[in-house]
């Protein structure tokens, strides 16, 4: 990449080369040819013309084709993808069949009570009661019950995810273009994992205090690492990008 202001001739810029008056058209190029290829060309021109005339005469209505035909292109491809995925689901079902536990019994509390895996994060948020501050103004009482605190934590998490498009605008489409938002995403993913680990605390082979600290420390750490990595990657990319791109879409 050069730093002077001379026009670049390496094919940068728009990439469109306008034909000048000297440039022969394709027709002219073909007409220059001789011999058999010339004969072939002449015959095909006639044949094409014939086709065209016949088409004009007929009452068959030709439609403009605006896209790939649905059949067979799209359908065959979609059928292939669909059968592969459905086949994977059936394969999983056959190899790892479901389990059914004992009948419901209100009198016997299981040692471990858990929802299905995709609700672990929400269940973990319910166990954040230890963060519920005991206010001295209330004489060491808590303002709200621990359970209420947990439900509110759910609202906060979902609410934050919901307003992301209203906070982050612009045309950036890759994490390297926005290291901060990339790092927030990585921290969020890590938090989803650590909060799930907190919800299965009975099964985690570590001290509860350590687990509670890690729940918030680990996302922070991975977020910072992701930020540093993405920043570095962006510097690397920016070196390769030409300056026009840099000027058009300044990094956020």
């Amino acid at each position: 990449m050069t730093d002077d202001n001379t026009p670049e001739t390496d094919g940068g810029g728009t990439g469109i080369v306008a034909p000048d008056d000297e440039t022969p058209t394709w027709r002219e190029r073909k007409e220059r040819t001789t011999g058999l290829s010339r004969l072939t060309y002449e015959y095909f021109e006639r044949a094409r013309r014939e086709d065209e005339d016949l088409r004009r005469e007929s009452d068959y209505v030709e439609r403009d084709v605006l896209a790939f035909p649905t059949w067979p292109h799209e359908i065959v491809r979609n059928l292939a993808i669909s059968s592969f995925f459905v086949g994977m689901i059936i394969f999983l079902s056959a190899t790892l069949p479901p389990h059914i536990g004992d009948p419901a019994n209100p009198n016997v509390t299981p040692s471990i009570i858990l929802p299905d895996w995709y609700l672990y994060w929400s269940f973990g948020l319910l166990k954040l009661g230890y963060l519920n501050p005991e206010l001295s103004i209330l004489g060491g009482q808590k303002l709200m019950a621990d359970r209420t605190y947990g439900v509110l934590a759910n609202v906060v998490v979902v609410g934050f995810i919901a307003i992301v498009p209203f906070l982050n605008k612009g045309s950036a489409r890759r994490p390297v273009e926005q290291p901060l938002w990339g790092a927030i995403g990585i921290a969020g993913v890590t938090f989803a994992l650590t909060i799930s680990a907190l919800s299965v605390q009975n099964l985690m082979p570590m001290d509860l205090r350590v687990l509670q600290d890690l729940t918030f420390l680990a996302p922070f750490v991975t977020g910072c690492i992701a930020y540093a990595v993405l920043k570095t990657m962006r510097e690397g990319y920016m070196y390769d990008l030409n300056r026009r791109y840099y000027r058009l879409r300044p990094p956020k």
């Binding site: 004969l39 015959y43 056959a94 016997v108 929802p115 319910l126 709200m144 947990g150 045309s171 489409r173």
Partner: protein
């Protein structure tokens, strides 16, 4: 010279007009013969178009222009997760409809620890019904796969900025959909009425009750009371097989419809 209009597509007359060597003549005759039978001209036209396309100077795409094509290819396999979750949803719907023939959402007079009607119907499906075990397995796995695919789909959309400016509403709709997917899962795994279902239901009731002000109202609406009972199971069943399928299917259609109208955000 005759008065009759000359047929300008008379290839034979055209051949006679030309002064051709035997090689040229033989070539043209066989070419015409083949073309009249196999429409070679069509295929040659295709080849010709291809040739010009390849040799033409096309405007560079966004990616080529800024030399970015080595920077985002790794996102492409992730661009099918939405389709994958829709597919799993359809499989779950079909297998669920079949399961619905055999399941009945009743606790009956089952006391603590006894098998309720719901539980014994599940046991019947898994033990006695032809292909019942496989059917329940497929239903459960497609639900798991759908949930996982929906989560990963959301991550993909987040990290490729697919939620940005003209697409905020679809992101919000997506959050509603992922929540409803989890509600779908929750109401689903309560139905067998085994220990997992019962105690997960217990968590749900307590969560509902801990909502400030509206808690008791929500608990009664969703769970039919402050403790788990027949009405809890019935409500979960109605939610799972009647209410949610219509709502979620409509919202998925809307979600995909918006993607269709707006197009998929171009990665760059």
């Amino acid at each position: 010279m005759s008065l009759q209009k000359q047929d300008e597509h008379d290839h034979k007359a055209w051949l006679e007009n030309k002064d051709l060597s035997p090689v040229e003549r033989g070539f043209l005759v066989s070419l015409i013969w083949m073309d009249q039978r196999f429409r070679i001209v069509d295929y040659l036209e295709l080849l010709e178009t291809l040739y010009y396309r390849v040799n033409l100077q096309m405007p560079k795409s966004h990616t080529e222009q800024y030399d970015l094509d080595n920077k985002f290819w790794y996102w492409y396999p992730l661009y099918t997760l939405g389709f994958f979750s829709t597919l799993a949803y359809i499989v779950a719907a079909i297998s669920g409809a079949l399961l619905g023939f055999y399941y009945s959402p009743a606790i009956g007079g089952a006391a603590g620890g006894e098998a309720s009607v719901a539980y014994s119907q599940i046991a019947f499906i898994m033990q006695d019904l032809q292909f019942g075990f496989m059917l329940r397995s497929i239903h459960r796995w497609s639900a798991q796969v759908m949930t996982a695919a929906v989560f990963l789909h959301m991550l993909r959309v987040y990290f490729t900025g697919g939620y940005k400016e003209p697409r905020e509403l679809n992101w919000l709709l997506g959050i509603v959909l992922i929540s409803l997917t989890m509600v779908f899962g929750y109401t689903g795994y309560l139905l067998p009425w085994d220990q997992l279902a019962f105690w997960a239901g217990q968590i749900g009731v307590e969560m509902a009750l801990s909502i400030p002000l509206a808690g008791e109202w929500v608990a009664q609406l969703l769970f039919g009371g402050f403790s788990l009972s027949q009405s809890t199971l019935m409500r979960m069943y109605i939610l799972h097989v009647f209410l949610l399928p219509f709502v979620v299917t409509a919202l998925i259609a809307l979600h995909i419809g918006i993607v269709w109208v707006q197009g998929i955000a171009e990665p760059h």
